[in-house]
């Protein structure tokens, strides 16, 4: 029998959603301050409305349950599943008021893309966007990349029920012994990386001739977009705008850092350098990721050379490498213009680009996708099964892997890896079919679908304000499900459906 949600559950869910929505009101103070600093007073009004909405909606939701009560696991799953959508609905208010979106749904799409650190954008005329609007877009990516729940946990919210929240948000591993310390570590480490990345990029952008305030904010946004594997850009030309290989190199380093598990950084942070370096080269996740990027890079290069365009050594080293790193880490920054991707890449290179996004980064990182650990486990299982077939019947072999210590591959781990991989593949296929049904070509549809479900953000030009509404809804669902790795949302939908079904009367 499926567990049902009662009135008490709903009241508690609303209460916790209300707390998170009120947190959003506090976070909107940042773009409000930026708008005041840059004299964008019309935009300040947008953010005041946003703060008012967040405060009113949050307070209203919190009224559903006045007395504090502990959150059950199934309630935590629903809160974590719904917060991405509820937060996006509220966060979309100031963006919609900015006039850069055709409809409220487009602004909502932008916010879902931001919170899930995807990077697909429906903004029009982004080159004339205010500093405050850009600040808010990138803040959403920061919150989404780190995890909304992680941010809430790190400031002391939900301390009693943090573990349920943390797992439901698509994170499996504790970096530190306690949930709050884990969240605080992620937050602190990310703040340090953001500070260093911003400083370095600020120097580069000032050398490129940008005015200091713009250089500072562009650097901050690029750091967030890269490290949180988000992929939003403050200019319409994305990374092409800067025409700087040192800047591209730094963002590539940040993208790779964002795709690595926080547990590796925890060991480095606490001074166990020797151990960290040793683990770094033994870890199945990092090995898989490195092997994957190398393999994809070779294949992509071969396909480009065979295609006859974009095949010069400089192009391959600069744009080819950047594109593959950006796709494989699920960031989505582009050094090829969209029209180059669709008209100059051979179909083979295009296909490899799609495949490169499917895998994603590490478990417990800011990246999305199937995750390298799961692919590594599946690969190990394939090898073990093949080996078992060749071995004598009496031989018993165990398969293990190294990831934060040596582990035997349990049936549960194998099943989880297989099922999640399968769910991602099904999602990629369904999204592709949706694009085809909407009238687009198969390959661009596949690229857009994989990009949305793996939270990568590369685009072949389908995600535009003119795209059909139904297709935008499909991509929103893909981004949402991909970020939470399916199970949280499947549990949410199943629970809600079971609750709607009338109870059978006995006798």
């Amino acid at each position: 029998m499926w567990p049902r949600f009662g009135r008490d559950d709903l009241a508690n869910i609303c209460r916790y959603l209300g707390i998170l929505v009120q947190l959003l009101a506090v976070l909107m103070l940042a773009p409000l301050i930026v708008s005041l600093l840059f004299g964008e007073f019309a935009v300040s009004a947008h953010y005041l409305v946003g703060i008012g909405c967040a405060l009113a909606v949050g307070s209203l939701l919190r009224l559903a349950r006045v007395a504090p009560s502990e959150l059950k696991r199934k309630q935590a799953i629903v809160v974590t599943g719904l917060i991405w959508i509820v937060a996006a609905l509220v966060a979309a208010v100031p963006l919609w008021l900015s006039g850069h979106f055709l409809s409220y749904f487009d602004a909502f799409f932008e916010c879902v893309s931001g919170f899930t650190a995807t990077g697909l954008s429906l903004a029009r005329n982004i080159d004339h966007a205010s500093m405050a609007d850009n600040m808010w877009r990138f803040m959403m990516q920061f919150l989404g990349g780190q995890g909304v729940i992680v941010i809430a946990l790190s400031i002391g919210l939900f301390s009693k029920t943090g573990s349920s929240f943390y797992n439901a948000e698509g994170r499996e591993e504790f970096v530190m012994p306690y949930i709050k310390r884990t969240a605080q570590f992620i937050w602190r480490f990310s703040a340090v990386v953001t500070l260093i990345g911003t400083s370095v990029l600020c120097c580069i952008t000032m050398i490129l001739g940008m005015e200091p305030p713009r250089a500072l904010f562009h650097s901050l946004w690029l750091t967030i977009g890269s490290y949180d594997t988000g992929g939003f850009a403050p200019q319409g030309l994305s990374m092409i705008y800067y025409h700087s290989w040192p800047l591209e190199f730094i963002t590539m380093v940040l993208m790779c850092m964002g795709a690595v598990n926080f547990a590796v950084y925890a060991r480095l942070w606490h001074g166990n350098w020797k151990e960290a370096v040793r683990d770094f080269f033994r870890d199945i996740e990092l090995r898989t990721l490195a092997a994957w990027i190398a393999l994809i890079l070779v294949l992509f290069t071969a396909a480009l050379v065979a295609g006859g365009y974009l095949d010069e050594m400089g192009t391959l080293l600069r744009r080819g490498f950047f594109t593959i790193v950006s796709a494989a880490t699920n960031t989505g920054y582009q050094l090829f213009a969209t029209h180059q991707t669709t008209s100059l890449l051979s179909s083979g290179a295009f296909m490899i680009l799609i495949i490169s996004m499917a895998l994603g980064g590490s478990v417990g990182s800011t990246a999305g996708g199937i995750k390298a650990l799961r692919v590594g486990i599946v690969f190990k299982l394939v090898v073990a099964r093949t080996k078992a077939l060749l071995s004598p019947g009496s031989a018993r072999d165990t398969t293990s892997y190294y990831h934060n210590g040596r582990h035997l591959i349990s049936t549960e781990a194998a099943n989880t890896a297989m099922v999640v991989t399968l769910l991602y593949i099904v999602s990629y296929l369904l999204g592709t079919l949706a694009g085809i049904v909407a009238g687009y070509d198969a390959l661009p549809s596949a690229l857009e679908s994989v990009s949305a479900a793996s939270n990568a953000g590369l685009s072949a030009g389908i995600v535009t304000p003119d795209a059909p509404l139904a297709l935008k809804v499909v991509y929103v669902l893909q981004m949402w499900m991909g970020r939470l790795e399916f199970f949280t949302l499947l549990a949410l939908f199943a629970g809600l459906l079971a609750s709607l079904k009338p109870r059978k009367r006995r006798g």
Binding site: H46, V66, A67
Partner: protein, 271 residues
Amino acid sequence: MVPQRQRPQRQRSQPQQQRPQRPQPRQQRPQRPQPQQQRPQQPQPQQQQQRPQQPQPQQQQQRPQQPQPQRHRQWLVIVGLVTGLVVMLAVGSVFAASISQGPDTPVVGDMDTELQPPDVRTAAEPSGDEATSSIPALNAAGRQLDGMKVSVQGEVVGDIIKASDDMFWLALDEGDSSISVLCSPSDAAQIENLGRYGQSGDVVLVFGTFHADCPDHQGLADIHAEHLAVVAHGQPLYHAVDLRLLMLSGLLLVIGAALMLMRWRLMEQTR
């Protein structure tokens, strides 16, 4: 959304008022405050709750006469929720109806300025065989126009990026399509206004060679400008502060604060 009517925590704090239907344990409790601890085998309040409650006509008659803070609180919550929702929906619908021309429409500072791009044929330098193209058309053409001389018109946006000591990059916009233009310092010096928030950029006409896959810039799609002319100067774009938005935000903040205050009062009552 509606909270449960019977909560164990609250029942513990006010046992006498909440359980009128069970007179025996209630009457005994004030006289014997300690026996419960000494005799754990006695039925606890939670266990009592699980018992099927049989209807007792006498107790039903007593119910309305007794003070019921919990019911009062529930009604307050319901009234608060409904009022909040109604007010927010009303404000939202009035506001949505009032926005007929779309959110935040900028107004060009000098209305006499012609921001519409002039006819390319009249503004063009005499060159003869270059292909006149829009930026979206250029991007769509890709391979067909690779290496050809083109003339393109668009708004300069963002920043002027230094390419080397003697060359600069411009970002040229038309609609939502952009292209990079490599130009000389003298060309770059002509540009006075860059398109940003609150500012439209100079509209320039560029003559140059289009590269779908530039050999000099590692496969970039760009135009190497040979000549650049400003055809319309950019202007400040005034984004007026919308008083309706300020009023709406004030109202929402007041509603939010009132709901928070109401919640705080209810919590105080619970304690």
